[in-house]
């Protein structure tokens, strides 16, 4: 992680599907990037469930965020982090995730928060 303060950190802490938080947080990330901000994403808590493969949100009449997540490189959002601890707490491993992310330990998660000027926490 760089010494310089980065622009915007968006934290994803809610499970997908059950509420609209995942989508609304991702919308904010895309808008932030479209505004020319340097945006990092951190998945922790139940938010790590957003990264699981094989979600079929259409079976409950939803759009989900899986396809949108694939668009992140188009928006120049390339820093995607996930808390190793939160994965382990839920019995998950990195190979179950549908996206390539950097795993962070607790100290790195703490440093990530401190290194951003603005933190949006969903």
């Amino acid at each position: 992680m760089s010494e310089n303060m980065s622009d915007l950190l968006i934290m994803f802490r809610k499970a997908p599907i059950g509420t609209s938080w995942a989508r609304e947080a991702l919308d904010l990330a895309l808008v932030g990037a479209a505004f020319g901000q340097h945006v990092s994403l951190l998945f922790m808590g139940d938010g790590v469930y957003q990264l699981l493969t094989n979600q079929q949100p259409e079976s409950v009449g939803q759009k989900g965020t899986q396809a949108m997540m694939k668009a992140l490189p188009m928006y120049d959002i390339e820093q995607i982090f996930v808390s190793q601890q939160c994965l382990a707490d839920r019995g998950l491993t990195q190979d179950q995730l549908g996206f390539s992310c950097d795993l962070l330990d607790q100290t790195q998660v703490q440093a990530l928060l401190q290194s951003h000027q603005q933190v949006f926490n969903f």
Partner: protein
Amino acid sequence: MLPLENASIPTDDEGYLENLNDWQPEIAALIAKNEGLTLSPEHWEIITLLRQFYQEFELSPAMRPLIKYIGLQLGKEKARSIYLMQLFGESPAKMASKIAGLPKPTNCL
């Protein structure tokens, strides 16, 4: 309403399709005509790409991601906003999305 053969395809007051499944190339030409555009192969290249973007990402792109996507798919030459503006006018992402039958934008920027 857009007249197509024996049917009428419902649109809203701004000319967006009520049902996205109604879209077909003939419809795109009709929407474009209502906007004062005649579609050339260069227009179609972008329209096809926009539909591909939407299918892949379930998103109507803003200008920046659209240009990046064009750059990746069609090369640097066409990945310029001036090129898109020559084809689709002042708000090319918006206009091309409408012709490509993507959802009406939420104006969320």
